[in-house]
Subunit: 343 residues, 2 copies
Amino acid sequence: MNMWKIGCVGFGNVGQGLARILVDKREALKERYGFEYSVTFIAAPVKGSLFNPNGIDLASALAVLDKTGSLKGHPDATEKDTLSLISGNYADIITEATYTDLKTGEPGVTHIRTALDRGIHVVSTNKGPVSIALPELMELAEKNGVSYFFEGVVMSGTPTMNLAREALAGCDITGAMGIVNGTTNYILTRMEEGMPYGEALKKAQELGYAEADPTGDVEGWDAAVKVQVLAKVLMGEPIRVEDVDRTGITGITSGDIEAAAKRGARIKLIAEVRRENGILVAKVAPKEIPLTHPLAGIMNATNAITLVTDHLGEVTIVGPGAGRVETGQALLADLLSVHRSHS
Amino acid sequence: MNMWKIGCVGFGNVGQGLARILVDKREALKERYGFEYSVTFIAAPVKGSLFNPNGIDLASALAVLDKTGSLKGHPDATEKDTLSLISGNYADIITEATYTDLKTGEPGVTHIRTALDRGIHVVSTNKGPVSIALPELMELAEKNGVSYFFEGVVMSGTPTMNLAREALAGCDITGAMGIVNGTTNYILTRMEEGMPYGEALKKAQELGYAEADPTGDVEGWDAAVKVQVLAKVLMGEPIRVEDVDRTGITGITSGDIEAAAKRGARIKLIAEVRRENGILVAKVAPKEIPLTHPLAGIMNATNAITLVTDHLGEVTIVGPGAGRVETGQALLADLLSVHRSHS
């Protein structure tokens, strides 16, 4: 297929980031990849949903949203609800970027299940569904002969799963370890400069890296979800987030950081999957990384993952782990991956 | 296509590395990627060429070679010459891994041109043809609707071009800078530990990193060829190796390295392409890299490239830059890339 009908489910920062890229790069995507698209709906109950089987003018949708803070004044405004839009066969692919609920996975799980059930490809950046229902959703995609890609859940647009699947194709991945939470890495970087934990956390909150309740980041829950994804996708082992052996950074003191420095190392919050005597180790914990290892040099909110492979030994990729355009890029890379596999 | 007929041209370290992988992973490649193969010829005039339209038993070829140092005693031994094998329509794809001649590009250029002319895909790790004839060969491939991939010429199996083409699809690459020569990085690492240049070079030669005549590495010629490739593939600009502004590491002293360290930096031999006011900058030179940059931490013979992108800012990939299995992996990744694009 060269003309893809896309349905955008969720139109917050990430959805808008993707929409902006799609508008700006329409010609380049056609020329370089033979990828053409028509966005037939935007499902966003609060901001206002749009529907036009002949294709929504994305530039005008972004303009109306910028001007009024809502899509409700756009000529393509619709009363149809999200599930009717997904199940109405108006799209070949949906982009799922609604809000993350790590307890229930909803509304993402229902959106994705509905689409896959109907033979619609899904690309998503939503961590809720991968944490709650990844094995089920991957199986459903396979059963229906469609793709379900979710590159953005690990390091936004910095590729991990696409890297393993394509550029490193042919290698066996025997493990992975990485810095996959920018907030905690930012805090550890400030602490290394001498700032106490409390002050570094406050600074991270001021910059918008950490939430008012920072538990998800500093106790390692966010990193644990990423370990869950890596365990399933890279190692083929489905686990629950509760199965991840998880320690956050709240116990780390300036003294620990100084002691590590004296040993030629830095303390990093490391997310890790590997097999030890055939048993899967799935872990998030602060770890001393020797300065000679590429992960030791990853500072501030930057992310990085080291993949351990049979043919190449360690391969490390370093890049941003969050951001509107960065996460939009993850959706775009996944869209182009679907395009390569199914056109 | 799911059953690929492969012709191996050149059967030195790299060709054997690939053959070993193909033997070991036959089932995994079929299962994971739907990739099946039959090697119909091995063109290696000195070691002895093999030909069998029904498929050579690679394991037995490797065994005979290990035992006798030659392929001439194998039941599939043939008198056919290399060009007859390539042009005889016995393969859908050839792997070109003969020796590198940076002056003439031969015999690789003729092998690759012959294959592409006949609509045969080419995957290659040979730096000669990319330095001498890359624009012509890429055009020829396009004209004939086939692929010509050469991931291995930059950092062996550590992906650069496949990364840009697939996992980072949708991004514009606006520049690249990297450590793409392991020998010089090894020498600089030893010098940082206090070893004088001459001694570090001797050590690199003992370890087999540097040739008896080290000019190609230490004067930056090897890195310059990689800049040429990056300029054409990432930036779309064909240049000659002479166009690369090239300075090697022979002028670097221990004093320079210490002075850099005092400024919080390391000296690395950096290969670089970018645009400055619309003009392509293509350069190899020693450069002070601040310790906060991922390239500063790359030690010994490890390689790394930072791609500068519009959507993600800097993305850096770190991995091995040489080796028998590592370069064999580059050929395998390219084979699977051809498989994805043409099956």
